[in-house]
């Protein structure tokens, strides 16, 4: 029966090409506009580490006090931590894995050709197991390397390929800022989206991952400036040592806490630590701390720009207008067919038959409109990519503007479902046709 209805639908749709085209265009444009917005929102709000995100936590400590928030409209603690606190948390070693980390930039001297600058990250070896970073060869550096501030480096896939095309880089040396580093490992291409572990450096939470990774202790010993944000409320003492001793925040800290009990214990420890710092005279305000898991942290940091959410709302409103439009056109379409629907009723077709027949026709419009919508979404995303090209240098723009398999299914499903919903009223109207009345007019 479905096949027959489909054939009827095609025949009916071909009878009034202009009306059909308008309906399909309305559905297609509505889907295209709303799904262009939704694709980016979906890519941005994905969970970068689904199997582990509930175990990864970011601590915050109120090192600036209530005065620092007096001018602000939101009551937020500093979203990075100080060197002092990072070291205290590393020493306490309360999680399964933990790392203090920050973004750096160093010159790479390839030996032949001009030196170039590369983005890097200073971290403890736990960084790699904490975030399940996949290695192509080699392994993270040793705990002894962390301890000994060793000149070792883990290369990202891109930089490894640039420096040692075709060969294995492990065991070779790379000259960074004039010093030779031994390559301990090379990563597979790895690009979590969003790049959750540092939402500030390189412009946004959707930046590319780094070209290289060096021990945190090594970077601090070499006095490598942060390539991310550094915020102070009071002038730090002068020099690098002054920065390390200051209440300036410039480090990210992540800790893995596998169970609810571990989270509770860590929260307690964190509070006690802050209270102790207060007793020691570092603060003169009540201790205050926060602990966020990965996904809470993404929300807290507003990784998804507000405008993207606004755009999605506007896109959905757009879809509603297009569907209302389609409802009007469908009313006209089915109304014009009252005659032959009446004949079918008179020949014994039940109301349900008519209803199903029209529903198939509506569904077909939805599907074709959906296919058009996929094309328009792709076009919309291409326009988006072209417009954002000037900021694409460090951002994973391609992945934010691509239709993956999941999105394709969402688009087609939304198109068909929305069109059928929109078509329910016109279809119901059509199935209410009075056979006798229609025949009389004929």
């Amino acid at each position: 029966m479905f096949g027959y209805y489909l054939e009827l639908a095609v025949r009916s749709l071909r009878r009034n090409v202009v009306l059909t085209a308008l309906m399909i265009a309305a559905v297609g444009v509505g889907i295209g506009a709303s799904m262009t917005m939704l694709t980016t929102l979906r890519a941005m709000s994905g969970d970068p580490l689904p199997d582990k995100s509930s175990q990864l936590f970011v601590p915050q400590i109120d090192v600036w006090g209530p005065d620092s928030r007096r001018q602000s409209t939101v009551d937020r603690l500093p979203d990075q931590i100080t060197y002092l606190d990072a070291m205290a948390l590393m020493r306490a070693h309360r999680g399964v894995h933990q790392t203090a980390t920050y973004a750096v930039e160093m010159d790479v001297d390839p030996g032949t050709g001009r030196p170039f600058s590369a983005t890097g990250r200073a971290a403890y070896r736990d960084f790699f197991s904490l975030f399940e970073v996949p290695f192509a060869s080699g392994a993270p550096w040793s705990a002894a390397a962390d301890e000994g501030r060793a000149d070792v480096v883990v290369l990202g896939a891109k930089l490894a390929d640039r420096l040692f095309p075709g060969g294995d880089a492990v065991g070779r040396t790379v000259n960074l800022d004039g010093r030779n580093y031994r390559v301990a490992g090379v990563l597979q291409p790895w690009n979590p989206l969003p790049r959750f572990y540092d939402t500030n450096s390189n412009g946004s939470g959707f930046a590319d991952t780094e070209d290289f990774y060096v021990p945190f202790t090594n970077a601090v010993e070499r006095q490598l400036e942060t390539a991310g944000n550094l915020n102070c409320t009071a002038l730090p003492p002068s020099g690098w040592e002054g920065l390390l001793a200051s209440n300036c925040v410039w480090l990210q800290f992540w800790v893995q806490l596998p169970t609810a009990a571990a989270v509770r214990a860590f929260r307690g420890f964190l509070y006690n630590y802050a209270a102790e710092q207060r007793r020691a005279g570092r603060f003169h305000w009540p201790a205050r701390v926060e602990l966020y898991d990965l996904n809470e942290w993404m929300v807290h940091e507003q990784v998804v720009p507000q405008q993207v959410r606004v755009n999605t709302f506007i896109g959905l409103g757009f879809l509603v207008v297009c569907l209302i439009n389609a409802v009007g056109l469908m009313l006209a379409k089915f109304g014009a067919r009252a005659g032959d629907l009446g004949v079918r009723r008179a020949l014994g077709g039940s109301r349900l038959d008519i209803f199903l027949q029209c529903l198939v026709e509506t569904g077909l419009v939805g599907f074709v409109g959906g296919v058009l919508g996929v094309g328009l979404t792709a076009a919309g995303l291409a326009v988006d990519r072209a417009l954002l090209a000037p900021v694409a240098k460090n951002v994973q723009l391609d992945r934010l503007t691509q239709i993956d398999g999941g999105m394709l299914i969402i688009i087609l499903a939304v198109a068909v479902a929305a069109t059928i919903c929109a078509g329910l009223y016109p279809t119901w109207q059509a199935s209410r046709v009075q056979p006798a009345w229609q025949l009389k007019v004929q």
Partner: protein, 403 residues
Amino acid sequence: MDVLPILKALRRNKIGAILIGVQIAITLAIVCNCLSVVDQYRERSSRPSGIDEGDIFTFSNQWVGKPADLAARTEADLAAIRAVPGVVDAEETNSFPLRGGGWGWGLSLKPTQKVPTSPTTLYFVDEHGLATYGLRLIAGRWFTREEVSNHGMHDVSFPASVVLSDYLAHKLYPSGNALGQIVYWTPSASSRIVGIVDRAETPWAGYGGPEDEQSSFLPYHFVSALAMYVVRTRPGRLAEAMRAVPARLYALSRQRVIDNMKTFAETRTTAYAIPRSTAVLLGSLSALLLAITIFGIIGLTMYWVGQRRRQIGVRRALGASWVDILSYFHTENLLIAGIGALLGVAMGLASNLWLVSHFALPRMSVVFIAVAALCVLVVSQAAVLWPALRAASISPGIVARGL
């Protein structure tokens, strides 16, 4: 035109009329919110930065291996750049307008203040700064060579003199007497305001916000392995200088990385790329939405005309002129669209308030929504013209043929 028969006819056609009305309402609500975003972008991105944008290019210079004699190397670099044909002047700094990242601090009027009077960005400049940027000094003076000192990445001093943007000067001293005043960076560090420039945007002006012109210039040589160079050329010689300058610098020393070479026009494009993409997207969405609504109105009105062929024929036979028929459909549309537009104005304002409170978007002006409503009404009237003409062309004879 008598409205009563139209209303009576509409009662028999409730759903269609409601559909058009609601469609117009939502269209209006969306379009005015979209256009308000577009308008804010246009307003924001067309503000001048205060510098000679057409003739400036910038790049970053990073010394490889942290050499000890940074200040001397920078001085040699700048001398070499200034000698390049076509170059007006050059400057080394920590940041420049619209760059994206930069330095910020708070300025206070009194040493004991707990909360600063205003945040400000800090630009490090020397005696060449005024000529390099092409800033317009409107009061006081620029820095002399003797005033300029070295400032490293982790130095925490502040200079004796400072030049402010006019906006910041007025924010600190609303009565306009900023020149010569002492302002405080910390309880123990202060500077005298020696000059005021008419405009200077912050590095983060592209993000929008109230702090876009709160800029301070500090007489410092920035002593850092990674610094920005700003070069101003004679008109028309930008491209030539952009090729010559790096070649000249590499000739001085190859132990460096020159990166992010950009004309200021490119910097501006980059700074506003995200709001521009939003504006283009929402602008074209609005146009599409209006088009869809026009076709919707045409489609539905055509359907009504088809339904009422007999009635129209009867009216014509009874003496109605084609102008009467035309004005019937236009009045009917005006009624529906008018109610829809009123609803749309309410929805537009409500949705804007919601967006303002939830997403910190700027508020839309009432004039804006009124203009948008008028546009939607005109568009809707235009859309109904064709179906109405079709209706008017129905011959009175149709009644006689019994159809």
